[in-house]
Assembly symmetry: C2
């Protein structure tokens, strides 16, 4: 068989005869014409079968049999199709195939996901097939573009990838929301953040980051929660908290620009407002102290268009508050220096106000909520040890982490970005379950 090309390569072959391996996503026809919507994962495009051409090429009988076979191809049948590439200004893709021959690789019958509407549970049960739909492919292409933009950003900024372990003998934060496993007779937990290990990496290798799966055994059933998701954590010495936010802002802009540059057809398929994404790249992100955000929320709590609950200084935000804040500014917004009481033990207090810590959450606009959590880390051994005790963490679990403050402690900051939150935001989709190939949620572990 002649060498195959992909649909994405079709534009380079206008006027040539090519062969493509593909699936029949959809099909229509009338009389002597059959229109096949082909997909091969790289793109979708239309192949046109004109019966008289087949009769002429293969003879009256054989040609009619071949045309009839095509006419009855089931959805998702796999085929090798040979034809001449033609420009087609009417189609979005811009090209179509004038079919000269078609060989069925494997006929598909009764494909479960038809063009009609299906319920979410049904689609999730068929996730292995649902991924073939235009929308799901587009979301995965956005995800892929985000992953590559992330790797590029860290390489360009002198970071070393430093893979934190998943199986840990202790938990990063003292919570019961951990998956546990038996590790040859002793308990081990699935990591919910690589941060503490990254701090060791930063003291050894300078700027480091990891990017891998993390786990939270939370019984949350919201559209923003997965039990298994991909987290990018970065940690870097010798930057101030302000410089750290500069780095995070540059990172998020690089991620968005990466999708605009490399997955624009996917954004178009998803009907994402790309002008908004371009605005986020072009506009400085907002930075607002937590206490100012509380003042603002209080001042607006009786507005006609607000629907969040009253918050006091010292309270944590809920989703409605985050949504309102980022909507208020219309760009990604850092909320800075939260109360120490509900943030992690390792965060460094604000100078002259030990009730607040040098941290920032980055809230995505349009109701997408928190996409980054970051902070400057406590560098003083005694203060950190006091925090470990105050938080009632087991000291022996953190001895190695405390060592980082004993032997050449240096100022350092870090942050973590949830990939699926970012996919959801950039894709403009409603639910995080579509942002990862095989989502894991409270009642969902298969397929």
């Amino acid at each position: 068989m002649e060498k195959l090309i992909t649909i994405a390569q079709v534009p380079e072959h206008v006027g040539e005869s090519v062969t493509i391996g593909a699936w029949v996503a959809d099909k229509s026809g009338k009389g002597k014409l059959q229109f096949l919507q082909l997909r091969d994962g790289t793109a979708f495009f239309q192949a046109v079968v004109f019966k008289p051409n087949f009769l002429e090429k293969f003879g009256e009988d054989a040609g009619a049999v071949k045309f009839d076979e095509i006419k009855h191809l089931g959805q998702e049948s796999s085929v090798y199709v040979t034809g001449t590439v033609k420009s087609d200004e009417r189609s979005k893709f811009g090209y179509e195939l004038d079919v000269e021959d078609l060989t069925v690789i494997s006929a598909s019958e009764d494909y479960p996901i038809t063009p009609k509407d299906h319920g979410t549970d049904f689609l999730m049960d068929h996730r292995h097939l649902w991924l073939r739909s235009r929308r799901q492919q587009a979301i995965q292409q956005v995800r892929n573009a985000l992953i590559y933009a992330s790797y590029d950003f860290f390489r360009d900024n002198g970071f070393v990838k430093f893979d934190s372990p998943i199986l840990v003998g202790n938990s990063a934060e003292n919570t019961t929301d951990l998956f546990e496993t038996d590790y040859f007779g002793q308990p081990a937990f699935l990591s919910q953040s690589g941060q503490l290990y990254l701090e060791a990496g930063a003291m050894a290798l300078g700027r480091v980051y990891d990017f891998g799966p993390v786990f939270r055994a939370e019984k949350s059933k919201t559209r923003r929660h997965l039990t298994e998701f991909w987290m990018m954590d970065a940690e870097y010495p010798f930057l101030s908290h302000e410089e750290s936010m500069d780095l995070q802002e540059a990172y998020v802009k690089t991620l968005i620009q990466g999708v605009l540059d490399n997955a624009r057809p996917a954004l178009e398929m998803l009907e994402r407002d790309t002008a908004l994404l371009e605005k986020y790249v072009a506009t400085p992100f907002k930075r607002i102290p937590y206490d100012e955000a509380i003042d603002l929320l209080q001042a607006h709590e009786n507005d006609d268009d607000t629907d969040y609950e009253h918050v006091e200084h010292g309270d944590d935000f809920g989703s409605p508050h985050e949504t309102w804040i980022s909507k208020h500014y219309g760009v990604p917004t850092f909320v800075v220096n939260y109360p120490a009481s509900f943030k992690a033990f390792y965060m460094k207090p604000v100078p002259d106000d030990s009730t607040r810590v040098l941290c920032a959450d980055l809230l995505a606009p349009e109701g997408y909520g928190e996409i980054i959590g970051g902070s400057e880390r406590e560098t003083d051994y005694d203060k950190l040890l006091a925090k470990v005790k105050e938080w009632q963490l087991k000291e022996e679990d953190y001895d190695w982490y405390l060592d980082l403050r004993k032997y050449g402690s240096v100022p350092h900051c870090g942050f973590g970005l949830g990939l699926e939150r970012m996919v959801t935001f950039v894709s403009g989709i409603e639910h995080i379950r579509e942002a990862i190939p095989f989502p894991r949620m409270l009642h969902r572990i298969k397929p």
Copy 2:
């Protein structure tokens, strides 16, 4: 404070006064001179403190105090050091710093890892600090270069990153070597391969790959085994088994070249024979059918320089056999078409010989053993179902996987490469435990 530069940036600042944040890896001196070996994760280089300069700059008393402080700096103390960059042809790095000022950030005393020899257990217990040593940093830099070369290769070859799940309701292969966890009342396992999911991805998105941690609860205590390691799996439709090996060969060459291009100082630090690595890139890999390999092993089993056990056709290889084969050819060697009996159920039989399957293991030379396992996958629904039954796998665990053969099955191949095996091979190191930041092994879950 003026803007810091890293040691890696020093060559761009010859003749200039710069400030660096760094750790004192080692120190020596005589009389009016102190030589500090500085490290900041990007590189190591020497800073020279000349007492008379300090006396002149800070005055007799303050200068003497400052010099004395430097003289007594403990290993791994963290410092801001300001000085003028000078070329220094005697040093490997090529530059040194003529120190004008030094501020101690955090003094370090009694750093546990001294220049003397330490036992492996001690070093592993202090892995969070051990990573600061020259050798460990170099290995992580090789790892980083391999990771980037991998991402570049897949991007250049039209692959989409497709993150397979870690938590799975069923096991990829029917083995007891799985870590189990309670998933909200039902058992779940940590994935030991993303392959089956990737096959679903390949049918949806074309060429796909994943690159993440996988887990094997094996009680192995060899220098080649970790319980948690990073695996790169790729899966692609419409390539033959031969073309698949071409792709794998190009991939491995890209990985090696990536390290040669981007981590050469690390290879030099590790005293890796780079001429050998260059040879592997320049020379076609060997491909030898399994049965020919057995013949060859039998023919040489009584040679003076062999020390492997007799093998029969149908036997699996042990490490000594793999070592001998790859040594015999002196380049990475594919052993092709193993017996079906000890390979996975999803592999496609060799046409006309159902006792053999279309698979290949890639053996690294120099005794490093298997780095890739790959195969063409069974595409026929009935044959695959028969295999599932024959292997006594639970059919309901594989219903979704079987669907991939029901709805538009296409020829496809894939392979998996173990990152740490590759790090070990390219670095030329003895034991896999040094190839990952925080190794997990039979008796090792901390730190």
